[in-house]
Symmetry: C2
C-alpha cells in the first residue's frame, strides 16, 4: 500500500465502527543501549499507548519556562494572530500554536534530546515537529476537551498517512486530580474508532475551540474504557506524559482556582510526511500541521 492509500477511512460511513490498527506501535527494534527508554518502558508503551514521567524537567528549568509563558500569554491576549485560539464562550486564550517556530526557548526545549530522543526511539527514525502549542486551562472556568484520537483528525484533515507519531505533554503547572488533568484510555491506541459526519472546509477555525465533527460515539468509548479503564497521571510541574497518536484522550473542565498549563508537541516520523488530507478538504495551515518534514537537527 502506498502513502496515498487510505488505511484509516473516517467521517464517511453513517455509523461508527472500531477497526484494528494495522501499524506497529513501536517501530524498528525498540532501541538499544544508550537510548533513553529501557525495555520495560518500551513494553509498557507498546501495551498501554502512553508513558508518564514525574518531574522529568527540573524545577529551575520549569521556572524559566513559566516566566517565558507569562510573557507569551500577555502578548497573546492582545493579538489577532491566527495561532492564538480562544475559549468557546469568551476571549480568554486557550492555546497558542507553533511555539517551536515563534519562541527560541520553547524551540530549544522541544528539540532537546530528552524529548526528541524518546520520539526517535519509539518511531524508529528521525522525527520532525508536526505541531506544537501551549494549552492554558484557566482556573474556575476551564472547559473540557472531549475524547478524541489525534490521529483521526491528523489523518482526515491533515493527510498524515500512518500511525507513526507521538505526542508529549509537559506540565507547566502542578497536575492535580481535581484540575482537569489529561485522561488517557490505556490500550485504545490499538483500535481505530471511525467517526460520523462530513468535515466542512476550514473546520479548524471552530474545532480548535470546541470539537463537533471527529468525536467518537458513546458506545465505542464505553467499549474502550471497559477494556482499558482510564488513567489520569498527576504530578508536579515538569512531569510529562508521552502518548501514541491514536491513544484516546481528553480532559474534564476545571472549576478549581488551579490553572493547568502545558506544552504539547507532536513528533512525526520523517518517513510519515503529510500527503493530501484523506477527508478531501483543503490542508489546514502550517501552524497546525507542518508540511516541512525536515528532521530535527
Amino acid at each position: 500500500m502506498d502513502q496515498f492509500a487510505d488505511r484509516y477511512p473516517s467521517r464517511i460511513l453513517p455509523v461508527p465502527s472500531i477497526v484494528d490498527r494495522t501499524d506497529p506501535v513501536v517501530w524498528g527494534d525498540g532501541g538499544s543501549a544508550g537510548e533513553p527508554l529501557d525495555r520495560d518502558r518500551i513494553a509498557f508503551f507498546e501495551r498501554n499507548g502512553y508513558l508518564a514521567f514525574e518531574r522529568l524537567i527540573p524545577s529551575e528549568e520549569i521556572g524559566r519556562l513559566t516566566a517565558e509563558l507569562d510573557v507569551l500569554w500577555a502578548a497573546a491576549g492582545k493579538s489577532d494572530d491566527a495561532r492564538v485560539v480562544r475559549e468557546p464562550d469568551s476571549d480568554v486564550v486557550r492555546s497558542v500554536f507553533a511555539i517551536h517556530e515563534s519562541n527560541a526557548t520553547f524551540r530549544a526545549l522541544l528539540h532537546d534530546r530528552r524529548l526528541a530522543g524518546m520520539a526517535e526511539q519509539i518511531l524508529g527514525s528521525p522525527v520532525y515537529i508536526h505541531q506544537s502549542r501551549i494549552n492554558y486551562k484557566t482556573g474556575f472556568r476551564g472547559k473540557e476537551f472531549y475524547w478524541h484520537s489525534d490521529f483521526e483528525t491528523w489523518h482526515t484533515e491533515d493527510g498524515m498517512p500512518r500511525m507513526r507519531a507521538i505526542s508529549i505533554s509537559i506540565a507547566l503547572s502542578d497536575n492535580h486530580a481535581v484540575n482537569g488533568p489529561l485522561m488517557l484510555i490505556p490500550e485504545s491506541h490499538k483500535h481505530y474508532v471511525t467517526c460520523v459526519g462530513r468535515t466542512p472546509d476550514d473546520h479548524f477555525k471552530q474545532s480548535l475551540r470546541r470539537q463537533a465533527v471527529g468525536t467518537p460515539d458513546d458506545a465505542s468509548l464505553r467499549r474502550l474504557v471497559a477494556q482499558g479503564g482510564i488513567e489520569a497521571p498527576t504530578g508536579p510541574a515538569g512531569s510529562i506524559v508521552l502518548f501514541d497518536c491514536n491513544t484516546m484522550h481528553g480532559s474534564n473542565g476545571n472549576i478549581t482556582p488551579y490553572p493547568r498549563s502545558n506544552i504539547f508537541a507532536v513528533y512525526n516520523s520523517v518517513e510519515n510526511a503529510l500527503v493530501q488530507p484523506f477527508g478531501g478538504t483543503r490542508p489546514r495551515p502550517n501552524f497546525i500541521a507542518s508540511r516541512a518534514a525536515g528532521p530535527i537537527a
Copy 2:
C-alpha cells in the same frame, strides 16, 4: 439576637466579602458514649467541615437502592413534575427532589439512625429533612456544579436563620477521581462568603439547572483554597460524605462513561426552622425547602 435577625447578610452589597462564622460547628457537647461519631471524628468535622466514610452502606443494600433509582429515573424522564430538574442544555434529568416524601425506600434510608443519628449528634438536637434529592450526573456530558455554600442560598432564599444544618451525600455509583466527584474546601465552613447580585423572584427555576446569582467570587475562592486546599473523597458505591451547611463545595464536569449518581439529604435542627427568606423574595416551594419542621421519628 432573635431568629428573625439577619446574621449572614448576602446579595446586598456591590462587592463580596468574607466574614467569620458566628455559629458553633458542633452544637451541644459533641456526643457521648453510644452515639455514632467518636471524639476524633467530631474533632475532624469541627476543624475541616466534613467527614468521609468508605462503604458505610453495604453493597447488597446499594443494589436495592440502585434498582429503585432506575425505576424512579425511568418515570422522571417522562414527567412534568416540578420536582424533576433537567440539565441546562438538554432534557436529560439532573435531579429529582423530595425523594423522602415520594419514595418509601429512600425515606427509610434517610430516616435510618446511621445517617440521622450523626446529624443529631453534630447539631445537638432532633432534626428534620430540609431537602432531599437524587443527583444524576450522566457520563460523557455531565455538567459541573460550580462552587457554593449551600447555607448562603438557604439563608437568603429560604430563610434558614443559623448555620445548624448538615448535608449527607450517599454515592450510588463508584466515585472515581475522574468522574466529577464532590470537591470540598476544608476549613471553608468557618467563613461566610457574601455574594453579589440581587435574587430575582422564582430564581430557583433557573438556578437549580445552572447557578448565576449566589456564586462566590474568584478572590474569595482563592483565599479559601490557599488556606484549606481541596479534597475530593472517592470510594465505591455506598460511601458517604457528610458536610456542614456552610462548607464550600462543587464538582467538575464528567466526560467519562462513568455516571455519578448520589442521594443528597439535608438535616436541619428543629431549633433552626425556616423563617421568611432573608433576601426578601417569596419562599421557594416546599420540595426544595421544607417548612414542616417536625422531628424525624
